[in-house]
Symmetry: C2
Subunit: 476 residues, 2 copies
C-alpha cells in the first residue's frame, strides 16, 4: 500500500521499526503492555491487530487484555485467525472463554478449525453449551462452502412489524451483532424468509410504516449451505449484495455470508488458482511465512509427477533413435517445436479455467470450445510455421548454418509439425479443464506445466511421424 | 450457479428457453414489449437486465422504456456496460439523455469509456453542462485507478449536525443516491474529512445526539485517486470497508469506491492475471463472446514472441551439433531436462506474482526471496536428479535400453544438469516478476511460457557445458 496516502500504514511502519529494535530484547518483558495499549487505543482495530502481530504472544495478549472490552472483541473478529489463536492461547483460559463466547460465530468457528490440540478441546470444553452447539453446527459444513463462511449473527423481524419497531430492535441488539447489512423479514407463523430489507431502505421509511412497505418488490436472493464459495461470490457480485442469507430447504435463515468475508475468500481462491496453474499445490500460507520444508513438499510433489510424465519423452526419443542418428538436423528443432505446443496449450488452458471459474461456460459447452480451438490452433500453428520455415530458409541462404541438401524438406517438416502440434496443444489445453471438472477435480489443476508435459510427449511423436512422412527416402 | 437454490436463476432459465424460441423470429416485432415489461417488473434488476440482454436491442429498449422510471435507472446502473450502451444507443436521444443524467456518475463514465463514436459525442453533447463536467472529471483518471472506479454520489454532513438531522437528510436524498454505505463527516469550515460514520453506527445514536458521538475513534481510512485498484482492494479487505473515500491532497472527498465495484474489479484483475500467466494478452471479454480474430490477435502476439525467443534453442543446438553427432544419447534427455527447468521456474513465478499482488512482499525483498529459492532449487533439483539417474540405471540394468559403455557418466551428466537447471529455473522464475515490477511492467506478465522459454535456452547451454565437463575424453 506504499502508494496510498492513508495514514494508518505509515503508523504501521513505525511499529515495524519499533519491532526491529524489540527483536534484540524479544524475550524480556520490557515492552510495557499498558503503555502500548494506551498508544493503540485510538487506532483502527485492523492496525491494532497488526501491531499486536509484531509482539511476542505473551506481550500481545497482555496488551489486548488492557484494551477496552469491545475493542478486544473487534480485534479477535478480524480475519487473521493466526493472530487470534495466538492471542487466545496466550490468555488465561477463563478470559479466553469469555472472549470466544463474545466473538462472532463464524470467526470463532475459524478459530477452532485452526487451533491445535490439546488447547482446542481444552478451550472448547469450557464454553457454554449453547456456544458449543452453535460452533458444532458451523464446523459441520465442509470447507469453502457457504455454510463454512456464514455467520449466525443476523437480524430478523416478523413481517407484522413497523419500521419504527425494527429500528428500535436494531438499536438494542446492535452492539451484540458484528454486522448488520440487511434486515430479514420472516413470516410470523412459518418463519420463512419473505423479504430482505437493506438498512438504507429501512431508514427511508417513516417510523409508523409497516416494514414490508419499504421492502423491494423482488424476492430475496438466497443461497444454500453447500454452495461453493465461488458460486456465492458470483451471486454477491451479480446482485451487488452486502450479505446473502443462507437458507435451508424450509427457507429458514441459517446464517448470512457477508461481502467482506467474500472478498477474503475470492482473494484466497485466486491465489490458490494461480499457484495450481503454476504447477504446484496451493501454499495456503504467505510465501514468506510458510516453513521451508513445508513449501518444498508443496512443490516437490507435482514437480516429480511432471518429471515422471516427461520421462516418456526419453522413451519416445529412444524409439526414434535410429532416425536421429540418420538425421541429426531434426534434433535441432525439437525444443522449438515442443515448446510451441506447450505454449499454445497453456494459453488455451488459462482461458478455459477462468471461463469455467466465472461460469461463463459450463461443462456441456465443451464441444463449442473445441470448435473454437480447432481453427484457432490451425491459424496460430500456421503463423508459427511461416516464422519457423522463414528462419531455416534465411539461415540456409545467408550461409549461417547448413541444414544439408534436403533443407527444404527439413523446413517443410518443421512447418507441418508446428501446425499439427500447435493445433493439438490448443485442443488438449482447452479440453483438459473440462475433463478434470468432469472427473470431479478442480479445473485449475490443469496447470501450464501439466499441459506442457502432456503436449511434449505427444508432440515428439507427431514431429517424428511427420518427419518420416516427409523425409522418407531422402534423409530417413 | 446451477447448484444453488436461489429462485432467480431458475426464472432466468425460463427466459433463456423463451429466448431460444425467439431466436427463430428474432427480427420481427412479435415480442410484446409492454407484456414482457409487466412480466419482469417484479424481478431483481440484475435478472431483468439478463432478460433484456437476450432480446434484440430494439425490443430490449422498448421493454426498458415501459418499466417504472426508477427501475430503468437501477438496470442501467448495473456493471454490465455492454448492455447499458446497447440500450442507451437504441433509445430516442432525449430519453437517453434523461436516463444518463440520472445514472450514477461512475456507471455513466464507464458508459462513455465504452461507447463508440459518433454515438458517444452525439450523446455527450446533449448532456446538461454540469453532468458533462462531472463526467469529464471522472474520465480524466487513468484506467484501474481509484479515481476511475469511484462514484461521486456520497453523503457528507458538517460535524455540527446531530444524528436526527443526518437521518432526515438521508431520507430526503436517498432516492438520488445509488449507494449509501457510510456518512462522511466534514469540518464545517475547511470541509476536510474528519470521520466516517456507518449507517449502523448512525442508527444506534439517539436523534438528539451530535453525529460525532456515534463516530468511531480512529481516523477514517482513505485512499487517493491514482492508487491502483489492487491496493484499494487490499485496503477494503484489510479494514472490512463497504466503501472507501477517495480524497485529494487537501483531504476533500472526491468520491467513494464501493465494495461491489471492488469485487467486480478484483474478479476482472484475476482473470487478467491468469490469462497473462498463461502466456497471452488478457482478453478483456468473455471467451465465448470475444470475436474469433480478436482472440487470435491476443494469443498470436505472445506466441510468436515466445517462438522467436525459443528459436535461440536451435542456435544453441547448432552450436553443439558436433557433440550431438558424437553422443546422440545426450539428445534423448533434452526434453526431460529442459522441461524440468521450466516447471520449477513456473512454480517460483506463480508464487512471487501472487505474493507481490497481495503485497506480502515488496520489490526490496527480492534478495530474501533469492535466498529462499536458491536452496529450494538445489533440493528440488537433487530430488529430480535422483529420479533421473535411477531411471537411466534401471533401463540399463533391465536391458530396456543401452546407453553405451559410459552410461554411468551419462547418468551423472543428467543428474548434475538437473540440479543446475532446476536451481537456475527457480531463481530466474522468482526474480523475473521483481525485474518486471522494477521496470514498471505488470509482474503478472512473467508468464509460465515466458519463464519456460527463458530457461529452455539457458538450460540447453548448461546441459551441454555439464556434458563437456563430465564426458570430456570419453564420449566427447
Amino acid at each position: 500500500m506504499e502508494d496510498n496516502r492513508n495514514p494508518a500504514p505509515e503508523r504501521r511502519d513505525n511499529f515495524r521499526r519499533d519491532d526491529r529494535r524489540d527483536d534484540l530484547r524479544r524475550n524480556d518483558e520490557t515492552v510495557d503492555a499498558a503503555a502500548l495499549a494506551a498508544e493503540l487505543a485510538e487506532e483502527h482495530p485492523a492496525d491494532i491487530a497488526e501491531a499486536l502481530d509484531e509482539q511476542e504472544p505473551k506481550t500481545a495478549s497482555a496488551v489486548l487484555a488492557s484494551l477496552p472490552r469491545e475493542q478486544q472483541v473487534e480485534i479477535l473478529d478480524l480475519p487473521d485467525v493466526d493472530l487470534t489463536s495466538e492471542l487466545i492461547e496466550a490468555l488465561p483460559v477463563e478470559e479466553a472463554v469469555r472472549l470466544v463466547s463474545e466473538m462472532s460465530a463464524d470467526r470463532a468457528a475459524d478459530l477452532f478449525r485452526w487451533m491445535d490440540e490439546p488447547a482446542r478441546s481444552h478451550l472448547f470444553a469450557r464454553l457454554p453449551p449453547e456456544t458449543q452447539g452453535e460452533l458444532n453446527r458451523l464446523l459441520a459444513w465442509p470447507e469453502h462452502t457457504a455454510g463454512s463462511l456464514m455467520t449466525t449473527e443476523f437480524v430478523t423481524v416478523p413481517s407484522t412489524w413497523t419500521v419504527g419497531e425494527t429500528l428500535r430492535h436494531i438499536r438494542q441488539i446492535e452492539r451484540t451483532r458484528e454486522t448488520i447489512y440487511a434486515i430479514y423479514v420472516l413470516d410470523p407463523i412459518t418463519h420463512k424468509l419473505i423479504k430482505a430489507v437493506t438498512l438504507r431502505q429501512l431508514i427511508t421509511g417513516e417510523t409508523g410504516q409497516p416494514i414490508l412497505t419499504v421492502a423491494p418488490k423482488h424476492d430475496p436472493i438466497t443461497t444454500t449451505p453447500l454452495v461453493d464459495r465461488e458460486d456465492v461470490a458470483r451471486l454477491i457480485s451479480k446482485y451487488d449484495l452486502l450479505a446473502v442469507p443462507v437458507v435451508d430447504e424450509n427457507e429458514h435463515v441459517l446464517g448470512i455470508v457477508t461481502v467482506d468475508d467474500m472478498i477474503d475468500a475470492i482473494i484466497e481462491e485466486n491465489t490458490e488458482d494461480v499457484q495450481k496453474f503454476g504447477g504446484m499445490e496451493a501454499l495456503d500460507e504467505p510465501y514468506m511465512e510458510i516453513g521451508f520444508f513445508n513449501m518444498l513438499k508443496k512443490r516437490a510433489g507435482w514437480l516429480s509427477i511432471l518429471f515422471l510424465g516427461e520421462m516418456l519423452t526419453a522413451n519416445a526419443m529412444q524409439h526414434f533413435e535410429d532416425e536421429l542418428e540418420r538425421a541429426i538436423v531434426l534434433t535441432l528443432f525439437i525444443p522449438l517445436i515442443m515448446s510451441s505446443g506447450g505454449n499454445s496449450g497453456s494459453q488455451a488452458t488459462s482461458l478455459i479455467i477462468r471461463a469455467l471459474a466465472l461460469g461463463e461456460i459450463k461443462v456441456r459447452d465443451w464441444w463449442r470450445v473445441a470448435l473454437r480451438e480447432l481453427p484457432s490452433g490451425l491459424v496460430l500453428g500456421a503463423i508459427l510455421a511461416v516464422l519457423g520455415m522463414a528462419r531455416i530458409t534465411a539461415w540456409q541462404m545467408l550461409g549461417l548454418h547448413d541444414y544439408g541438401e534436403h533443407w527444404v524438406l527439413v523446413a517443410a517438416t518443421v512447418g507441418a509439425a508446428l501446425v499439427a502440434i500447435v493445433t493439438f496443444g490448443s485442443l488438449i489445453g482447452s479440453m483438459l479443464p473440462f475433463v478434470l471438472r468432469r472427473l470431479g477435480f478442480d479445473p485449475a489443476s490443469a496447470s501450464a506445466p501439466f499441459v506442457a508435459t502432456f503436449v511434449d510427449v505427444t508432440g515428439l511423436v507427431i514431429y517424428f511421424s511427420v518427419a518420416l512422412l516427409i523425409l522418407q527416402g531422402t534423409l530417413l
